[in-house]
């Protein structure tokens, strides 16, 4: 119809392709969430709630259920890379309040994604969420920024900053990337607040979490991740 619309299509497909190159699956036992490769040496970012099943104590004791007792089994944390390889993963750091977790896998030379400036988001700008909603791997959804900041009456209080987006996020999207129209990472999709509204943790919050939690050696390698202002 109009070539502008066809150009739009190309742009959206390209942004989604960029996300796919650094999109992982994060699995703890039965649960499945998404994650993004933050650093080529195996640093993965996801939500803390995606890996929280590991927090249940399993120090070799017993668990008591209605039918008797049974030994605790450790749930294993794995990450499936874009090339299909599944590797065991370890939690490097997590912050339950911010709902962010940093994982590590033994791999190097992994593809990463350029970071966008999450402090410069404007209501109305187009964004895309990529993840594994209801187990559909790599599925994408598009919409606009409803708003960004910390003053949303419906969001959990405590000064946390959010990017609120009008698109479709579902179980399985958690921990996955939110992208701008240039395919740069601007947030981590974290929750849905309505059938067509979700919220993401801005990338600048992820960066400050990594600097605090991992200290200077990782902080130095973080700045090696390409970013544009």
């Amino acid at each position: 119809m109009s070539t502008i619309l066809e150009q739009l299509n190309e742009g959206v497909s390209a942004a989604v392709d960029a996300a796919h190159r650094s999109l992982v699956q994060v699995s703890v036992g039965q649960g499945n969430g998404a994650g993004t490769i933050w650093h080529p040496d195996g640093l993965i970012i996801t939500n803390a709630h995606v890996v929280s099943a590991l927090d249940r104590p399993s120090r070799g004791g017993w668990s008591y259920g209605p039918y008797g007792r049974f030994p605790q089994r450790e749930a294993t944390l794995t990450v499936t890379l874009p090339d299909g390889q599944t590797l065991p993963a370890r939690i490097l750091a997590q912050d339950a309040e911010k709902d962010v977790a940093a994982l590590t896998v033994e791999a190097s030379g992994l593809p990463t994604i350029a970071l966008g400036d999450s402090r410069k988001l404007r209501a109305g700008q187009m964004v895309f969420a990529v993840g594994h909603p209801w187990g559909v791997l790599g599925a994408a959804s598009a919409g606009i920024v409803v708003g960004a900041g910390s003053e949303f009456p419906e969001m959990p209080a405590g000064g946390r900053e959010w990017i609120v987006i009008s698109l479709k996020v579902r179980p399985g999207n958690s921990g996955g990337p939110l992208l701008d129209v240039q395919g740069r990472l601007i947030g981590v999709n974290t929750l849905m607040t309505g059938p067509q509204v979700g919220a993401a943790i801005p990338v600048h919050t992820i960066k400050s979490f990594l600097k605090e939690a991992l200290g200077s050696p990782m902080a130095a390698s973080i700045t090696a991740v390409p970013e544009t202002a």
Binding site: M1, S2, I4, A14, A140
Partner: protein, 297 residues
């Protein structure tokens, strides 16, 4: 900057206006009408089976505002399709999109006409995949999921690309996920329904579950699991063919049967009435038998 936005916005509105000429209202249930799409200008309308709750007293609301009566040509619950026929002049059928060009991320529009006017929601292609089998055993040529919002009355309506070409029929029959039955499937099913009034599916009459075969049999048969028959309906094709409780079905028509999905895929319409070779494990012994496939009612 705003010129680009205006172009995008007008482009979308132009597409809805063009495609809307092939979108009709279906009055086939007590409460809210649903949507249908004009498949051919001679009066063949495609809509969602689940939205047509009666077989007669059907009406179709046309884009020009007229309302005409419709007859039901047939239904295929397994792909949620129903085909109606109307006698009307000036119908405009959809141009069909080239599915091979579709990519995840492409803009799509869902159209509906639950009332007088055409309505639209916009989204992108969220996921594309290979052929899949619906919960009722229907064969869908391609997995096409979008993030369009399915408004009330949108079931049975078209999914179109930015040029207004038809990508498929939208169904919200799957929990919360906007799935589209692609044009390839529509073409197949419409053809069958127009000719036969229904889509034939094979039927055996067994309840079964997958079981792990003993190691020696796994090696001999080259498969890890088979289907253990847990019940045989009295008088069913399985009963008449001599299958009994405890038999394990491992091949049908030279195809391995490892789980229910394998079996569902083999009980196709073209096998109805045919006597098909099968292999079972009975009392630990591998046996070759013949099964006559019946038709699902």
């Amino acid at each position: 900057m705003s010129d680009v936005l205006n172009s995008v916005s007008d482009g979308l509105a132009d597409t809805v206006e063009l495609a809307g000429k092939s979108v009709v209202r279906i009055e086939g249930r007590r409460r809210l009408p649903s949507t249908g799409l004009v498949w051919s200008a001679d009066g063949v309308i495609v809509t969602a089976h689940h939205s047509v709750e009666r077989d007669d007293n059907l009406s179709v609301g046309l884009p020009n505002g007229d309302k005409v009566s419709a007859t039901l040509a047939g239904r295929d619950p397994s792909t949620d399709l129903a085909v109606l026929r109307v006698d009307a002049k000036g119908l405009s059928a959809f141009k069909q999109a080239d599915g091979a060009k579709l990519r995840v991320g492409h803009l799509v529009l869902a159209l509906g006409r639950p009332g007088t006017n055409v309505l639209s929601t916009m989204g992108i292609v969220s996921a594309l995949g290979n052929n899949w089998r619906s919960a009722l055993g229907g064969d869908v040529d391609r997995y096409l999921q979008t993030d369009v919002a399915m408004l009330p009355g949108f079931s049975g309506g078209p999914l179109v690309d930015v040029s207004g070409a038809l990508l498929g029929m939208n169904t919200s029959a799957m929990r919360d996920t906007s799935l589209t039955i692609p044009t390839a499937t529509l073409a197949r099913v419409v053809d069958t329904l127009l000719k036969h009034g229904k889509v034939r599916q094979g039927y055996l009459g067994i309840g079964a579950q997958p079981v792990r075969l003993p190691a020696a049999l796994q090696e001999k048969l080259g498969q890890e699991t088979g289907l253990l028959i847990a019940s045989v309906e009295a008088g069913s094709p399985a009963d008449q063919s001599g299958l009994v409780l405890g038999d394990t079905l491992v091949t049908l028509d030279s195809n391995k049967v490892r789980h229910m999905d394998d079996l569902a895929g083999l009980l196709t319409g073209d096998r109805v009435g045919a006597s098909i070779p099968a292999t079972i494990v009975r009392g630990g012994q591998v046996q070759d038998i013949k099964l006559t496939i019946g038709e699902r009612a």
